[in-house]
């Protein structure tokens, strides 16, 4: 019987049996489901394995720990949807806020954030390649804004990043805001823009 094992792009073929790409997806999907159902604390790797139809060692071959798995599962993105650099700051800010709400507005996102804060590591992104990518792209877009003097003097990239992601995170975590709540997106984006734009 011939079945395509759906392997990712074209990595130079390593010796031995190749990894079953469908397992990656099944594991991630199971993780997200269980994260929504039980939260970070209630998540069990055994449960993930069972729902994904595999075993724990198969998970550990892919991610080195529970937190890594959660991060990878939640921040699975191609990166393009985070910041569409349209050239218009207002539009892009709304996009970023909406992205943050989308991520943190669901239980899985809260769980991922919890995992992120729970360990005493300073550098965000050192924990997840995907998260690092998002962070870097956001930074680049905002650095542009600073360079183009779209924001007033005294506002730097780092401040912009906190102003954007922080309120979105809080709104999602505390008040249950989601990406569908256009009111929240509007209000946060508006306040940030008014707070930083050059006069």
């Amino acid at each position: 019987m011939i079945h395509d094992v759906t392997n990712r792009p074209d990595v130079p073929p390593r010796p031995g049996r190749p990894r079953d790409g469908r397992l990656d997806d099944a594991i991630v999907r199971a993780t997200l489901e269980l994260l929504d159902e039980r939260g970070f604390t209630g998540l069990t790797l055994a449960a993930v394995a069972e729902r994904a139809g595999t075993t724990t060692p198969a998970i550990y071959r892919r991610w080195s720990s529970k937190s890594e798995l959660v991060l990878a599962a939640v921040f699975r993105t191609e990166g393009d949807d985070v910041v569409a650099n349209t050239g218009d700051l207002a539009t892009d800010v709304r996009t970023m806020v909406r992205w943050s709400l989308a991520k943190f507005g669901q239980p899985a996102g809260r769980a991922a954030l919890a995992g992120l804060l729970a360990e005493p590591v300073g550098d965000v992104g050192a924990r997840s390649d995907q998260l690092a990518l998002v962070w870097r792209r956001t930074g680049e877009r905002l650095a542009d804004a600073v360079d183009q003097h779209e924001v007033r003097a005294g506002v730097d990239t780092r401040l912009l990043m906190t102003l954007l992601s922080g309120p979105a995170l809080m709104a999602a975590a505390v008040f249950g805001a989601t990406a569908d709540d256009e009111v929240w997106v509007d209000q946060i984006a508006a306040a940030v823009l008014m707070g930083v734009q050059s006069t």
Copy 2:
């Protein structure tokens, strides 16, 4: 020999042996220390018990879980230092930002937030009396601002709360800002004020 076990104020004595008030203090103190040393994940109730000179059951009699203990330990405040309602919004906003940075700028604060997010519970404040107090006071002060039209139309209390605490959290968690960083306090407070004040 009768020795006073340092019991709290004068509550009408409940039946049963009263709790040893010194244990409460010792447990909270040990929790904060260990939180700073090892973070939320690394925190063990057994370790807390050992350092506090007691045992885990004594902790469980007081708090029902690790997250509750952490919340109680971190948000131990009289509530007065959170918002000094001076009547001047700019001053009070700076105070609140500084308070947020103070809390989230230390590992213990991050850990508390992690504990809050790790379990799938909706209502903040339903988890900790002390946190609820802080939250309520902050809300009252900001509701005043809304009533007095110190902020422009379209800005409500909840939005204000996210704008205040969110960036402070991010600055602390990602960039290592602390309450001593007057630059961070200034910048965040300024941006928020400019973003919401009535024209």
Copy 3:
């Protein structure tokens, strides 16, 4: 309202409120019942207290530990029924064997024995006044037999005691023999008598 609290004999009246004699009975009764239902390990002082309609401190005022309570409850006897010194050794041996079977043939007796063996104490009787009384009376009766040359030379009191109580205990504990099993009483008594009687 005048109710006789059924106090035991005439002890020189101590100051303070006298003990409620009915509690003693209720506690002992509850202990025996629960011992039969759950065994020594499964016995809880809280359960005893509840069934006796009282509280644990009332129990601890009377017996200093769980094992003491169990011993006292099981070996409650006036001592007269242990050895009726009829002058006829055969009769008295049968009585003693029957008494042993009666005690150890019920779950409560097994439990008491377990409690006795579980702690590293050499001297039987040092643990329970009542047990000590039984033991002493048995010894006295058998010493008589030795003195009267009812047993052959080389058989001493201590050997007699082990020969009497040991098999009864084993029969009860392992094979479930009870005092009603006249076959067991007969066989054990007969074997012992034949084994020790003077020719």
Copy 4:
């Protein structure tokens, strides 16, 4: 590096990681030591684990309770030393008495019996494979004696077993007899033999 973990014989390898055979030994050894030092009540599974250099779950994987562990540890025998069926009843009875004294003459043996009695279970041997073996061999030897008419009519196997082990237990538990006390061995064996042998 591959190191042989000293696994028992050559059983057809079950799926899963094999058990570390050295832990079994260490646990049993620690149990016996602590039993002698502190008795059954004073024995703690945590203490056993610590001395054996492992943890409690490892113990629970092997034995389901404290009593089971104690039984297994104490009655670790090949069974051959219990009854050397020499054909001569007198010799074999002495051997059995000596074996009983050896077992019950040390705290560990008493503890095992305590564990056996502490829980309300009927069938001895259903609790420990090793004990069952001992019990069965003893029974077989004595059944022989009955078949060969070495004992008088009316004496059956079960009675013989109680007569043998009971006095030994009592002598050991109450009077501190050990297997080295040839006097005790002689006296008990003699009395039993005279009590049961055919005329």
